[in-house]
Amino acid sequence: MKKVIIAISALAILFGVSPVTGAGSGPGGTAKAVPPPAGGKMPQVIVLGSIAKTYDPVKFNHASHVSNASGCADCHHQHGNGQQSLACGECHAIDASAFKKSVRLAKMRPCGECHSASYPAADSGRPGLKVAYHRACFKCHRGDVGSVGQDPKGCVEMCHVPGAQAKLEKKP
């Protein structure tokens, strides 16, 4: 039983970020503040499953966040808001068309490429994947929506459905 759980969580970590929908469908009318990327494909709902042992995978509605955020940099720190800056080419596909038009997001690097799912070394100063996810959420969701930061139940209210294993443990 334990092996099965370990295997499942390992798989969950491997495929921690898996876009479910939205491969071809642009955000359409939902995006108000942020214009949709010209050539890019923005995910609508993302399933985050790297902590599926305790909780069921989190369904993150990317589209609704796009409409609420004032810009990508609210959550994605790749545009130099005090974080490590990357070379443009690491994220943007730079080709002839990109130079003709303005450079649009062609590829946003998944958090897990830099933020490791395993516990990071303290000297790197870079948070692990779980912490990176949570900090991105806590920037706004703390104390107001879902009472995260005021009540430990806020985690469940906000995102986390207790997983099958957690439910099993609760039963006497």
Binding site: D123, G125, G143, G149, P152
Partner: protein
């Protein structure tokens, strides 16, 4: 008459000198052994020792660390579930069934975002508990954690008095097998290359595990890069000679119940002068008083 008296005095002095010499020698051996027993040593020889850094500005009070600690140490199920916020109504201390607890405080900067402080053993560099323990039940390991051995403990609870952070808890359930309970910094997990359960579980990255020297550097970086967010103080870097568990905060540490009057010298230094005098006093005083008694007895006999 006079001569006789002088002669007697001479004899008394030489006897006293002999006793004094014996006492000094005896006391010196006692002190020698006791200073070795204390964790009073320079720790620069352990550069790789581990530590923890709690960032009070990151903690959201989810109590995941408490739950992870409970499971990792196979502690009994708590009376109140871990997702219950009513526990925040009182300020808690670690107990025999909870090595770590999270307390809530009002945030003077923002009322909607209360402050949380995780409490557990700070694994002092030169632990007061270890210096107070008469049977050496505490060991400061080169890896960082301060460990406790229940096999030699006889339940005097001096360590509970000696701890400046009021951490060691007593297991009152068993009268015959006295047992102190406190955080071990998950020594077993770390020895196998693991991460302390609380640090691994914390979703907010409020608890970081690593080499103490790395954590000091990390804390300094955080404070330097975010001067508005943090106070320029790493709690535990120097307090009571330095602790393995350190803290950075956005509000003065006194506001979240950290003891703020602790000296930078290790506590054992404070007590050493007194403690090393105890064997001397115990050896000299009986001899001295016996001599006084003998001297007065002789006089009475003569009269």
């Amino acid at each position: 008459m006079k001569e006789e008296g002088n002669g007697k005095n001479k004899g008394a002095v030489s006897r006293r000198e002999l006793l004094q010499a014996m006492a000094v020698v005896g006391g010196a051996t006692l002190i020698g052994s006791s200073t070795e027993a204390f964790a009073d040593r320079k720790l620069s020889g352990w550069p790789d020792r581990r530590g923890m850094l709690t960032d009070l500005t990151e903690c959201v009070g989810c109590r995941t660390c408490e739950k992870a600690c409970n499971q990792a140490n196979r502690l009994p199920e708590p009376e109140v579930p871990f997702d219950e916020k009513s526990v925040f109504d009182n300020k808690r201390r670690p107990t025999a069934s909870a090595y770590t607890v999270v307390n809530r405080y009002d945030n003077p900067k923002s009322s909607g975002q209360p402050l949380y402080r995780k409490v557990q053993c700070n694994h002092c560099n030169e632990p007061g508990c270890a210096s107070a323990c008469p049977v050496k039940a505490y060991t400061k390991t080169p890896e960082g954690p301060v460990l406790y051995n229940a096999d030699v403990c006889f339940g005097c609870r001096y360590c509970m008095v000696a701890c400046p952070f009021m951490v060691p808890a007593y297991d009152y359930e068993s009268a015959l097998e006295p047992r102190i309970v406190k955080c071990t910094m998950c020594h077993g997990r770390v020895a196998n290359g693991g991460i302390p359960a609380c640090a691994e579980a914390c979703p907010a990255g409020a608890v970081t595990f690593g080499k103490r020297s790395d954590l000091v550097a990390l804390a300094r970086n955080k404070v330097r890069n975010n001067p508005d967010r943090y106070l320029d103080h790493i709690y535990g870097e120097y307090e009571v000679g330095g602790t393995s568990w350190m803290y950075i905060s956005g509000v003065p540490f006194g506001q979240v119940d950290f003891p703020t009057t602790l000296p930078e010298k290790p506590l054992v230094e404070q007590a050493k002068g007194f403690l090393s005098a105890v064997p001397l006093v115990l050896t000299i005083w009986p001899a001295l008083l016996t001599m006084c008694y003998a001297a007065t007895q002789n006089k009475e006999d003569k009269e």
